[in-house]
Amino acid sequence: MTHPEESAATASIRGAVGALQASRQAWHDRSGGFDETSARHQLALSLALAEVTGSSGTTDLAAIDHVLTAVGAASRSVRAEVDRVFIVEINRLRAALGASLSPDRRWREVSGGLLRRQLADSPPPGDLATVEEIHDWWDALSPESREHIINGGERWLGNVDGLPVEVRDRCNRLHLKALVAGDRPVSKRVRKALVKLQKELDEAREAGLDAYLIALETTGFGAATVSYNNPDTSDRVPIFLPGGGCKLELVDLQLAEARNLLTMMERLDASGDAKPPTNAVVLRQYLTGKAVPLEVLKGRQASDITGPTCRLLHGLRVTHTRPEPSYNVLVTHSYGSVLAGMTADEHAISVDRVATAGAPGSTLDEASQFGLPDGEVFSGRIAHDVLAWLGQLGFVHNVSLDRPEFGAEVYATQAGTAWPTPGGFSYAAHFEYFHPESLSLFNLAQIARGRQPIPARLEAVPQL
């Protein structure tokens, strides 16, 4: 039996969902990503009203007043309050709608190309297609049509979130082969890096590792998204977002870090005869364009990164094929941690946990703004890491992730390489979080496995 107040609550939620859907065109028209503050607040208000009137049949005026006060203003602190109370529900709804995601700029080119090919059995969805719509479209195609499309030479098809990872890999490898062979134009610098990427993929195969090329970008410094093992069929999927030095020519080093994480997870999983859970580690490089360090640190390039990152995370949820959802953890290093916060703030991050390493700070005010349940945001800092230390002092971004007021769970790390500087701070220590024999890696692997890491002991901030 439907309770009258429950119907009102449902209508309220539906209204808020409608507002979100209506704003999709507005998102699409905004070059710098979309500002969803208004939709977020409407939804928060609707959810709150539904909550206070729906279940008990009575109205808690004080609760409504509280929510109205919070939602009515758009200041940062009020927004944080709204997020703290409602973000999990908001993200769940937004993820279900696919509505939190900015349109895929590549999809427009791909869908246009596919339309020109006059697909017989099913035309592709339009420019504003959600990840779900793209996935459903692909799912409905005949095997012949799929092969026709894969081999059709649409160069960006492999980057489209919502397509199965195996399909993306096939498309991107064809694209990579053409780029390396010089059949498609690309800068000399990026071509050199592409050769390195091809070598990494070949060596992985020789070493018995399944590697998947999930995305490939060739503008700017170039970027690749590569997975060891297939995230669509794995039980756990840590997604590694590296630091601001992210560019294709560093792909071998960042893939080595991803392998280190995967190996440590396997060392902790080993169980003799029993079959352990399957793990896939995804390295997500992103385009940094003409990277100027200060600009990178200030996050001014972020708008072109957060939307696609959000879409990738959501796409991995949509294309996962196991009956149980995979356990997805966003593992970030350095500036990747800042980007993770920006992504959560501007969109939503469809993961179970976030684990940051060596973060130079965050644009968020507190861990709850990642939109995850309490205790699912982790932060680690190597004592001698000079960049993380500067972040802790608030020199780079407004908040340090390992200060108690931020509210992250702080995990233990090793001291790191010390240089003969006051406090022993070194640049070298900033790059030791993923060292194969390190406590930081051990703890990151535990977090990626859904276990609790060893907590850091409280320590004072070293003073110069």
Binding site: A256, T263, E266, R267, P436, S438, F442, I454
Partner: protein, 144 residues
């Protein structure tokens, strides 16, 4: 972490395998080694960040045949061996976790011992920065 400029890959592999064999030799229960990792990767200069020809190497083995009841004794035996051999403890997570990491101040090689949730032991070692054999300075001895 820089090693001797004369260090080479060939010598580094020999040193890694030597460190690993020596550690396994002190275990209180017999086991067989099964490799899970053997790789080398580029290693940037930690002071300049430049990527030259230097690489670092990792070797890792499962220690098969050791039951979960012997995990604590194995950790203790290898810990004591590493201290006696001149390594320094970088991280010892016991009793909160089965993780032990050491470094050798003489050559900056690092090693770790891990037990899985089910009590399966694994040991790993990583070299410092070394040169590929064909790039070793002329006349240098291949020492790590």
């Amino acid at each position: 972490m820089t090693d001797s400029p004369r260090a080479t890959v060939g010598a580094a592999i020999a040193r890694l395998e030597g460190y690993l064999s020596a550690a396994v030799a002190v275990l209180p229960v017999p086991c067989s080694l099964r490799r899970f990792r053997a790789e080398q990767r580029r290693s940037p200069d930690p002071e300049t960040g430049d990527y030259g020809a230097h690489v670092e190497l990792t070797r890792g083995y499962w220690l098969d045949g050791i039951g979960p009841d012997h995990v604590a004794a194995c950790f203790e035996a290898i810990h004591d061996h590493w201290i006696d051999a001149g390594f320094v403890v970088v991280s010892d997570a016991r009793p909160d976790g089965w993780f032990l990491s050491v470094a050798n101040p003489a050559d900056l090689y690092r090693m770790s011992l891990v037990a899985s949730d089910a009590g399966t032991l694994s040991i790993s070692a990583t070299s410092s920065r070394v040169l590929p054999d064909d790039l070793a300075p002329e006349g240098s001895a291949p020492t790590a």
